[in-house]
């Protein structure tokens, strides 16, 4: 089973959960509002980020960030624990062709499944931590308008975000992610250390819509009752 097919199945599973789960939430929000602690059951986030290459590797030495975006869906499975899917793209200009080869731009399309925990240290402020479970990225290296070269990698992403709640359903956030891509690029032994991994930071802002309600596991127990 390829990484992409795992992803497609993961996304399909999440959408299935969304479809069956979100209707049941509407009925239960009223009773939950009596509780002091409010839980979310799902959030959608759309963000812009700036990739910042780092380290002694082909991204850190050869590329410079030129923006990016991502779309995330988080499903809160138990209290403030969640699983999520992120899809997006990061754009780079080539800063040093001597390091990477003769191309001018790189677009990294990325998708990953992650888990995380979110808590409220201050009223209306939330802090979240995330770590990817599985993910893949595809590099499209542009030489000219019609000439390309492609690379691929498995990715790991570790992140944190800071959310301010404007109203219950709408939040804005700042986020940070540390990305490590384990590439599948075949290189001579002498280039192994440069091309084996690519690393960059992502600092971003975005807007998030989330819905208050029972999380997935809690709602299962309530249904049993």
């Amino acid at each position: 089973m390829t990484l992409r097919s795992i992803f497609r199945k993961g996304i399909f599973f999440l959408l299935l959960v969304l479809g069956s789960f979100s209707f049941s939430q509407e009925m239960e929000v009223a009773t939950d509002s009596l509780e002091t602690k409010k839980y979310r059951y799902i959030s959608y986030a759309l963000g812009y980020n700036n990739p910042i290459p780092t380290g002694d590797n082909f991204i850190g030495q050869g590329l410079e960030g030129n923006g990016g975006f991502n779309f995330k869906v988080q499903i809160y499975v138990y209290k403030d624990f969640f699983v999520g899917v992120s899809v997006g793209a990061s754009y780079f200009n080539v800063a040093d062709q001597i390091v990477v080869g003769n191309y001018n731009k790189t677009r990294i399309a990325e998708e990953y499944l992650y888990v995380g925990y979110e808590f409220e240290p201050l009223l209306d402020f939330y802090l979240g931590l995330t770590a990817s479970i599985i993910g893949s990225s595809r590099y499209k290296n542009t030489i000219s308008e019609s000439i390309f070269q492609r690379d691929s990698a498995r990715l790991m992403s570790y992140g944190a975000y800071f959310v301010y709640e404007i109203v219950d359903e709408i939040q804005v956030y700042l986020d940070y992610n540390y990305r490590i891509d384990r590439t599948k690029i075949d290189v001579p032994n002498t280039l192994e250390s440069i091309f084996k991994k690519g690393k960059f930071h992502q600092i971003g802002i975005g807007i998030r819509c989330s819905f208050i309600g029972d999380n997935f596991i809690t709602s299962l127990f309530k249904k049993k009752k």
């Binding site: 001597i98 080869g101 290296n141 019609s146 000439i147 691929s152 290189v187 001579p188």
Partner: protein, 230 residues
């Protein structure tokens, strides 16, 4: 009618310009070597380009630079390059117009690269000398002169199949020659040619069909003048 013409023109344009070229995915190669001059001193800041022919339209193809770099203080270079499957995958080494050039060809479509590396070893870029020659009859006796000037060309192009050089298609500082006859009506000639510095010129002449005499010169100056009077 007009609509079908527009469709035809669009399809034709798409065919000509719409071809997307994708190079070998998930691959980088390393091209290395050392560039030395005619006295085995390193040639610094020489340009190394890895190129492949890419079809840019249905009518033709262009050379595409896949990797490039410069030689360092020791004349060494290590160029990271993309790879394309091409029967004339090339590495070109140039300094400037004062130096000879070197081109390495290999067939990456038929041959796998060992360890994804191309090591050119020692590459020779020699300074180019301009040789001017003047040959004159000064004796006023109506002699006939047959002469030949043999010298080395400034190009070096080598084809490799894997690590084995293909001698049939390779030529490196190949010997070329100029031959001429001076007789009653034409009593002098002059000209010029380019040859690597410190290479030898072989001048063979025969006056009035006597036994040929050969003289050998070493081109020891980038502007070398050769005069022969008979």
């Amino acid at each position: 009618m007009l609509f079908s013409r527009i469709i035809t023109i669009c399809c034709f344009t798409a065919l000509v310009y719409g071809c997307e070229v994708n190079l070998e995915p998930d691959t980088r190669i390393l091209v290395s070597g050392q560039v030395l001059d005619e006295v085995n001193q390193p040639v610094t800041q020489a340009q190394v380009e890895v190129t492949s022919r890419i079809a840019t339209s249905i009518f033709g193809e262009d050379d595409l630079i896949l990797g490039s770099g410069l030689t360092d203080d020791s004349g060494s270079f290590n160029v990271v390059s993309l790879l394309e499957r091409d029967d004339e995958f090339a590495v070109r080494v140039n300094k400037n117009e004062d130096f000879t050039s070197y081109t390495y060809f290999t067939d990456t479509a038929a041959n796998e690269l060992d360890d994804l590396e191309i090591n050119l070893g020692e590459v020779s870029l020699k300074r180019i000398a301009t040789v001017s020659f003047n040959i004159n009859e000064t004796s006023d006796t109506g002699n006939t002169l047959n002469f030949t000037l043999k010298y080395n060309d400034i190009e070096c192009i080598e084809f490799f199949n894997g690590e084995i050089i293909d001698m049939n298609n390779s030529f490196c500082f190949q010997q070329v020659q100029i031959s001429q006859v001076l007789e009653t009506t034409v009593t002098s000639t002059n000209g010029m040619f380019l040859t690597p510095l410190l290479s030898e010129i072989e001048f063979t002449y025969s006056i009035n069909n006597q036994s040929p005499i050969t003289e050998i010169f070493v081109v020891n100056d980038t502007s070398y003048d050769f005069t022969f009077n008979f």
